[in-house]
Subunit: 422 residues, 2 copies
């Protein structure tokens, strides 16, 4: 017997037929003798409608009260939770719905993007044991204890709910049912020979997620890492009937690196074409210059990613290069032009036809020369590297956008990630 | 300065434009210096959709878990409350939404038709005083304290919420905004000279409501009577701009009879054509016979209304006559045929082409001969009276359905209720 959290997103609960399919997945695990807590999102489209109403409610002000927005939007998950409980009962599975304030799931008071502070899982554990009752929990929401107001967790909130609940009930695993069947070594649309990973370490998944692999939100992976919750990413499209509860279902387990016996040096190749590069030429090499550049950009809500500053050659001036999202490129230049007197630079250079390619793997920590291999391979294909940044388990290269696919496929082969051809 | 509850039903909050109109009504009262709590229903159609989903969720069982149904259905009012709070804030009116569990509104555990046990109004009163904050309360719902589960109040629940909240915050008045502009002396579609009452006593309204005048549910009037909450029925279609906050808006005040200075003998004439008459002939005149007849009908969920039993002429047998809803007529006969051995009667007579006309007025208590006047007037028009029942402030007559309009108009004139012609 295991204790499981099963999380289903909006497309998996889009209507009653989909909810019935979810219920069959749940019953499969219950029939296998497991204790189950289910976390559900709003029916797809429901949240957009609720947000649309909130927006339409304004005619004078620019933004709505976040507390009221949360009260309105949280109803989406409440409806799904109640309906899934009814469907489960209809299938003779003992079930009960739970809202954020009922457990409770205590959060900060940052309405619309609250942070989970504490989840009380004791009542759920008692009911698992005494009534074999499945808990159906409304994801994406909690309550701020001091005011008793409903809060929502923001983007990807239901994943975060699931992982936090898994930690609170000490679940053996948190199954994230999603529209892909796991985490891949690279984007299969660009790399046909990309393959699904059986396991990936939390740290690696964090890098992949923050680099734009959309499988899971960064914060839910972080939470899993902190509480050591094993997260299993699997497909919600598998028919419940086809899954052998005693077999190994297809999917990717995100877990502690210690659980991964045969660690590859490189786990995956991520890339992003949505980048723009800005170089600030000949700024004075003195304390406070970086702050003078990046302070105004942060105030303008422009997200700066790669930052490269080389050691000054003459001890007087240096060049700073960084990347911003392509959509913010012109705005970033405007900010820097306005801040020129405070920064003091000779010239601004920029380019929007650039891409970032990243190589991720915990094994890099203990293997020398991993990056050097990449530089060589790319040079052989005449791919120019514009900038390089590295961290313990990742290095990123800025290249001309035209070479993205070639670079990603080259690196994917180079590190032995290609799946064997049939 | 007064303290007001304003209640708006589903058609008054059907979409954002309607909600904005409601907000203008609220602001009018706030601008006049009043403290305001608003009670809202779900957007019209929303509740039906939620109920439809619950029904669709079943494929094996016949009924759904009432706790889960309540959790799903209560979201309708939650959405409206949040949206109205946002719209009010957009109009620079300080406002905050409240759900049943937040105040809390404590109820019994009779899910789907819970009874309000206690409403805590202290936080609202504090906020009226300290922040001039309007409370926007989700109607129709509460919470069962022992389980922390959401309950709903059933049909007309939002009216009941409004009156209970008015009692809890000691409101000067509870305004029910509805699709009619008040309570009339009779149905204007049948009696063109019917006129709106300025005031009506709780007891009279109770009789009118239970006789099918659809303005307010019986239970909310009862609650108003018990807690002496003055209820003002008024139109939600009046444009807020057209109402002089210092004038007397059109509508009907339901209040204690002591507040009605010039009490009419008769306040209104109600009628119902949806009746069927059943006579049980020559039942033995002994204890237990009434129970033998009405017990099986109650078990079959058939609502028995007028009951007439005359004193036995021979001391041995008597006739019992009563009415049932026309839709239940055949079923009621079947029940009585099946119970014949236990009851012991000679014959069943019945008729479906009958109508009940009722004359209501607190003044009857102190005026003799009120009913006698009616018998005479109807006899002059050759309207045969099949049965008569009376209570302290009402008498009802069963007549042939064909004479309904004539009888109602005759009585309406007879008791001086006709409005003066222009």
């Amino acid at each position: 017997m295991a204790r499981l959290v099963m999380k289903f997103g909006g497309t998996s609960v889009a209507d009653i037929d989909h909810i019935r399919n979810v219920a069959r997945h749940v019953r499969r695990e219950v029939d296998a003798g497991h204790q189950v807590a289910v976390v559900v999102s709003a029916m797809s489209g429901a949240t957009d409608q609720l947000i649309g109403w909130c927006a339409a409610a304004l005619s004078n002000r620019q933004i709505f009260d976040a507390r009221e927005y949360d009260a309105v939007v949280a109803t989406g998950e409440q409806v799904t939770a109640g309906l899934l409980a009814i469907v489960l009962q209809d299938m003779d599975v003992n079930a009960r719905s739970w809202l954020g304030w009922q457990l409770p799931i205590l959060t900060s008071d940052a309405h619309t993007s609250a942070r989970i502070l504490e989840v009380n899982g004791s009542e759920l554990i008692r009911r698992f044991a005494e009534r074999q009752e499945v808990a159906v929990i409304a994801g994406f929401q909690g309550v701020y204890q001091q005011t008793g107001r409903i809060t929502t967790l923001g983007r990807g909130g239901s994943d975060t709910s699931a992982v936090a609940i898994a930690a609170a009930i000490r679940a053996d695993r948190c199954d994230i049912y999603t529209d892909v069947d796991g985490v891949y070594t690279s984007d299969p649309r660009v790399v046909p020979r990309a393959q699904r990973l059986d396991k990936i370490a939390f740290e690696e998944m964090l890098e992949l997620a923050s680099l734009g692999a959309k499988v899971m939100q960064v914060r839910s992976v972080e939470l899993g890492m902190v509480h050591n919750v094993r997260i299993f990413v699997r497909s919600s499209f598998d028919r419940p009937e086809d899954i052998d509860p005693r077999g190994n279902p297809p999917g990717t387990l995100i877990c502690d690196e210690g659980e991964i016996v045969e660690q590859q040096v490189v786990t995956g190749i991520a890339f992003s074409r949505d980048e723009a590069q800005i170089s600030v030429r000949q700024v004075e090499d003195k304390p406070g210059v970086a702050a003078a550049i990046f302070g105004p950009l942060a105030e303008a809500n422009i997200n700066v990613d790669m930052i490269v500053q080389n050691v000054s050659a003459d001890g007087k001036t240096t060049d700073l290069t960084f990347t911003v999202p392509a959509a913010d490129y012109q705005r970033a230049l405007d900010v820097l032009v306005a801040a020129k007197p405070a920064i003091g630079y000779a010239r601004l250079d920029g380019a929007t036809d650039v891409a970032k390619v990243s190589v991720i793997g915990i094994g890099m920590r203990s293997h020398a020369g991993v990056a050097a291999k990449a530089f060589r391979a790319l040079a052989e294909r005449a791919i120019n590297i514009r900038a390089i940044t590295t961290s313990e388990i990742k290095f990123s290269l800025l290249i001309d956008a035209a070479f993205t696919e070639l670079a990603v496929r080259t690196l994917h082969s180079l590190y032995g990630l290609d799946k064997a051809t049939a």
